[in-house]
């Protein structure tokens, strides 16, 4: 999968949840959205990107959410 595209998608989701006053709730919202709507190979690609490339390009909230997904923390 095109990781650049996935990073962009994750950042778009994060920008929506950024207005959530409770940061934790925002991160949980991003992670839940990705888990709920992304096909497994997309999920694997973004978590691999997080693991292998430090999540380059991911916004702070998106990175936190993807890390949480990578550790199965949802």
């Amino acid at each position: 999968m095109n990781v650049e595209r996935l990073v962009s998608m994750a950042n778009d989701i994060a920008r929506y949840f950024a207005s959530e006053p409770d940061r934790e709730e925002g991160i949980a919202g991003i992670a839940s959205h990705i888990k709920r709507f992304w096909e497994p190979r997309m999920l694997q690609a973004i978590t691999a990107h997080c693991r292998d490339a430090d999540g380059a390009g991911l916004d702070e909230l998106a990175l936190a959410a993807v890390r949480r997904l990578g550790t199965g923390g949802l």
Partner: protein, 949 residues
């Protein structure tokens, strides 16, 4: 000419609940208060002669044929304009009445061509009928006096003729255009004997403002206005009620047939979505169904550069199954998928997703709603608990303030637009939020109170600003919110929208809308009585499409404008079965009824019914399929009725993805843009050739009925079933009603739906179950589907698609009345007489600074691609914004649009593309390549149709 089967009762039905008893010709009759004497008589099976009266229109009282005698009243009142009264005693047939009526008929007939035997309406002409009814035996005036018999026939309209020699100047056509359609294109010009019907200012019908809805043709009591198909083919011998396959209004029609030949489509007076009205597409643009371009033989080829090989159905189906099995064996189970279409029936889309989930064993199924209303599904589910609009169309009759945002109903949903305009002419207020001055802003007898002419991409900013005014000016319906909505979420939302950054003043620079106008519009919506919001793709097709939908739901909840008639959140769905295709589980993450694939109980219910284990993870969305194809992990795609190569954004990207697949199967009527990139072509069936159901924008499920045999031998659901069987997954339906029975058994909101029940009720708005056995016209009464309504935060996040020095204009795209989506159907009809190419609309200032004149070729370049279109200079555009449609493949509108998409659903941001426009003298490189590719593909098709000896 009215339908051959409907019994016209002369005047509209009264909606009164109290009844009145009267005596008509000695018979006691009880009818609703307000009913005309004419209608009351007709209800008692007493036909009073009439010519200017039809139940389509308000009573007019001009023909003087329906005179009656009423005990205690002087003279001979017209029964059409006389309401019933308790105890009234009416005589409809007396010697004097007969004499008066014959006198009237003598005058009519003295100026009428007596060519009944060769007249297209012979046998269904109301003038002819009335001559018989009144016992006309002679015309004392003779036929040699002044007359209109030499008046010239107007044949300019491609679908109907206007023969003034047959006109009796009853004004039914004029009134139909005014009252029903609301275009006011016709008038009676002149006085007395010189009175004639005139389109616009003595124009031909084609050159006039007429929108060819056909209401006048239907209303005409003689053959003055007649369908050309009726003239050519003669009258039908039977009619079948079915549902239109164009927009999301879902009009009910009577297909009038001679055997298997369609004579004409007549909108069904009993149609619960359209109440007897139609538009130019649904009534007339049917020629595509029998067009010579229809492909009726299955074809296969190894590579898209190969000639097509016509094969038998057995060979084609076996080839598809063999290829998909090979791909799954080679690349894995999830290397294949399917795409359903909103143009297909519920039963067809249900079967495709079942084939993909159960037959292929993957959730890689998506639908074209991905690129239109997927944000509606997401946004309304989050806030209200159900992925659907909240009202029926009739609800608009009770609206006091109508807010239309990102929708152009007069072009996209014309029959609903007519209903809306009727309400607006009665005095309801109108707020339009749109970058363009759409027709609704100012149209005969209608002027929007506010047109918030925002910049493309700023819907959420404006919606937040409206909410800001409502919260900070104490316009919240506190009681409603306290009772019906989640308190903490509301408090959070209230604090958010009240922030100064969300004020109209703070957002004015972004949105371009003067703050004072936003404030006034917010006050009107919140305090003007019943407030109803109608929206379209101008809301959803943005990077913040889902956010905007949630912002709309927030507004409705905050003002208590939801959960009753006359209010609500009303998505105007683009295609006929967008709602249905979504309901049927076409999205990769959910089963029918919007239930997530990870829900164990739901999944198990489908596993039990379908007899196979099902995948518990979401599948690929359409744009994800493209990425996976380019990545090499997605190799096979079954597309039923959708043309992704024309309708999806950045078509060069789509084309590259499709070219990377090893087996693309397209099931369609024509060699579409996608079919040109396919390895297998399976000839599909038009809506006239199959049984099924469509679900319109008001959740109304209506029957589609077969009126002719499938041209290629199979209805689409049968083809899907054949593929399933060849893949080794058993499907053995013998009729689509069995598919609906399965849907009902598995989907709580459809429990009470069956073909039998639909035949009985005419149509059903889901949810239809034990709690709502007759369906649900208005949702969320008393309680939201999710329990308490949930306010969602809607931060305005500007799109990343920004103008700069290189791309200084914003392109937004849309549709036009006479064409439909990718145009595969309407381009193959005479509708091209109104629109034969997509053009670029731009403001005079933008044209002027670029040296662009009306009709010039203009190069349109974006970050994604470039194309060339002709210029149309229009002050309905705002400076800095240009507009085009996407009905013609060669125009390449979606070569220019980008892959930016809604954050929640990946619905493309068609409505915002930064472009430059430059005067040019030749087609773009893409257009040249496209033309060459098209010519090559047509040549390959031609070889298949006429194989070398």
């Amino acid at each position: 000419m009215l339908s051959i089967v409907e019994n016209d009762l002369g005047t509209p039905a009264s909606r009164a609940v109290t009844t009145v008893s009267l005596e008509i010709d000695g018979k006691t009759v009880s009818v609703p208060e307000g009913t005309s004497v004419m209608r009351a008589a007709a209800m008692a099976r007493t036909a009073i002669p009439k010519l200017c009266a039809t139940e389509m229109l308000d009573a007019f009282g001009s023909c003087r044929l329906c005179l009656v005698e009423i005990e205690g009243r002087k003279g001979y009142p017209a029964s059409c304009t006389t309401p019933v009264a308790a105890g009234m005693k009416v005589k409809t047939q007396t010697q004097k009445l007969g004499q008066l009526r014959r006198g009237v008929m003598e005058l009519y007939i003295s100026d009428h061509p007596l060519d009944c035997l060769t007249c297209p309406t012979n046998g269904h002409c109301e003038l002819q009928d009335m001559a018989g009814a009144v016992g006309l035996r002679e015309v004392r005036y003779g036929y040699d006096g002044a007359n209109h018999l030499a008046a010239k026939k107007d044949e300019s309209n491609p679908y109907f003729t206007f023969d003034p020699s047959k006109c009796i100047v009853c004004s039914r056509c004029v009134r139909a255009c005014d009252e029903v359609q609301g275009t006011f294109a016709l008038t009676i010009q002149g006085r007395g004997f010189g009175s004639t019907v005139s389109p616009s200012q003595n124009d031909s019908f084609l050159a006039s403002e007429c929108v060819s809805c056909g209401a006048c043709v239907q209303a005409c009591p003689t053959a003055t206005l007649s369908e050309k198909s009726l003239i050519q083919l003669g009258q039908a011998e039977h009619s079948v009620v079915t549902t239109c396959a164009y927009c999301g209004v879902g009009c009910s029609f009577r297909a009038e047939m001679k055997g298997e030949e369609l004579v004409r489509m007549v909108p069904n007076q009993d149609g619960q979505a359209n109440h007897g009205h139609s538009c130019v597409k649904g009534r007339f643009a049917l020629g595509y169904a029998t067009h010579a371009d229809r492909i009726t033989t299955p074809m296969i080829r190894q590579r898209i550069s190969d000639p097509w090989q016509p094969v038998s159905w057995e060979t084609a189906i076996a080839h598809v199954a063999s290829e998909f099995k090979r791909l799954q064996a080679t690349y894995g189970r999830h290397s294949v998928g399917g795409i359903t279409s909103s143009r297909c029936t519920n039963e067809e889309t249900y079967l495709v997703q079942k084939l993909v989930r159960a037959g292929f064993g993957t959730n890689n199924v998506d639908t074209c709603a991905r690129v239109c209303h997927s944000p509606t599904g997401y946004g309304l589910k989050q806030t209200l608990g159900e992925s659907a609009g909240t009202q029926d169309f009739d609800s608009v009759e009770h609206a006091d303030v109508v807010l239309v945002i990102g929708a152009n109903p007069t072009d996209g949903h014309p029959v609903f637009a007519s209903r809306l305009k009727q309400r607006l002419r009665q005095g309801a207020k109108l707020i339009v939020i749109d970058p363009r001055r759409i027709d609704l802003v100012r149209t005969p007898h209608i002027q929007a109170q506010f047109h918030l002419k925002l910049k493309p991409g700023t819907n959420v900013a404006v919606l937040n600003a409206l909410a800001h005014v409502i919260t900070t000016e104490n316009l919240i319906d506190e009681a409603f919110v306290a009772e019906r909505c989640e308190g903490p979420a509301f408090a959070k939302w209230r604090a958010f929208v009240s922030l100064p950054k969300n004020s109209p003043e703070a957002l004015e620079a972004d949105s371009g809308v003067p703050a004072a106008e936003v404030r006034a519009a917010a006050r009107l919506y919140a305090s003007g009585g019943n407030g109803a919001i109608y929206y379209g793709l101008g809301v959803t097709e943005h990077s913040q499409g889902s956010t905007a939908v949630m912002a709309i739901a927030n507004l409705a909840m905050a003002t208590g404008n939801i959960g009753r008639v006359g209010v609500g959140v009303n998505p105007l769905r683009g295609q006929n079965n967008v709602q249905g295709s979504c309901d049927m589980g076409s999205f990769p993450h959910e089963f029918p009824g919007y239930r997530h694939v990870s829900d164990v109980a739901v999944r198990e219910s489908f596993e039990r019914a379908w007899g196979v284990p099902l995948h518990d993870q979401p599948g690929l969305r359409i744009p994800n399929m493209f990425e996976a194809a380019l990545d090499g992990s997605f190799k096979g795609l079954y597309i039923e009725g959708e043309d992704i190569a024309q309708s999806d954004p950045n078509t060069q990207h789509v084309t590259a993805a499709m070219s990377a697949m090893e087996c693309v199967v397209v099931q369609d009527l024509f060699l579409t843009e996608s079919a040109k990139l396919a390895h297998v072509f399976l000839p599909g069936s038009s809506f006239l050739e199959k049984e099924g159901t469509f679900t319109n924008a008001e959740r109304r499920i209506s029957r589609v009925r077969k009126v002719m045999s499938p041209k290629a031998g199979y209805a689409d659901w049968e083809i899907t079933q054949l593929i399933a069987q060849a893949m080794g997954y058993p499907m053995n339906y013998t009729h689509p009603s069995q598919i609906m029975d399965e849907i009902a058994a598995l989907t709580p909101t459809f429990t009470g739906v069956s073909f039998e029940r639909l035949d009985e009720l005419g149509s059903i708005q889901w949810p239809c179950n034990e709690a709502h056995p007759l369906g649900t016209p208005t949702m969320h009464i008393g309680e939201f589907v999710r329990g308490k309504g949930k306010f969602m935060l809607t931060e305005y996040v500007p799109t990343e698609e920004k103008v700069n020095a290189r791309f200084p204009l914003l392109l937004t795209t849309g549709r036009i009345l006479s064409q439909y989506n990718v145009g595969a159907q309407t381009r193959r009809t005479p509708n091209v007489m109104w629109h034969d190419e997509d053009v670029l609309e731009l403001h005079p200032h933008d044209a002027d600074v670029r040296g662009i004149q009306e009709g010039d070729w203009v190069g349109v370049e974006s970050r994604a691609g470039d194309t060339v279109l002709r210029a149309r200079i229009s002050d309905r555009m705002q400076p800095g914004v240009v507009y085009t449609t996407f009905h013609f493949p060669e125009s390449g509108a979606n070569v220019v649009t980008t892959e930016n998409s809604d954050w929640a659903t990946n619905c493309p941001e068609y409505k915002v593309t930064a472009v430059q426009a430059t005067r040019v003298s030749q087609p773009s490189d893409w257009q040249r390549r496209h033309q060459a590719f098209t010519e090559r593909q047509l040549d390959l098709l031609g070889q298949a149709r006429s194989p070398a000896p």
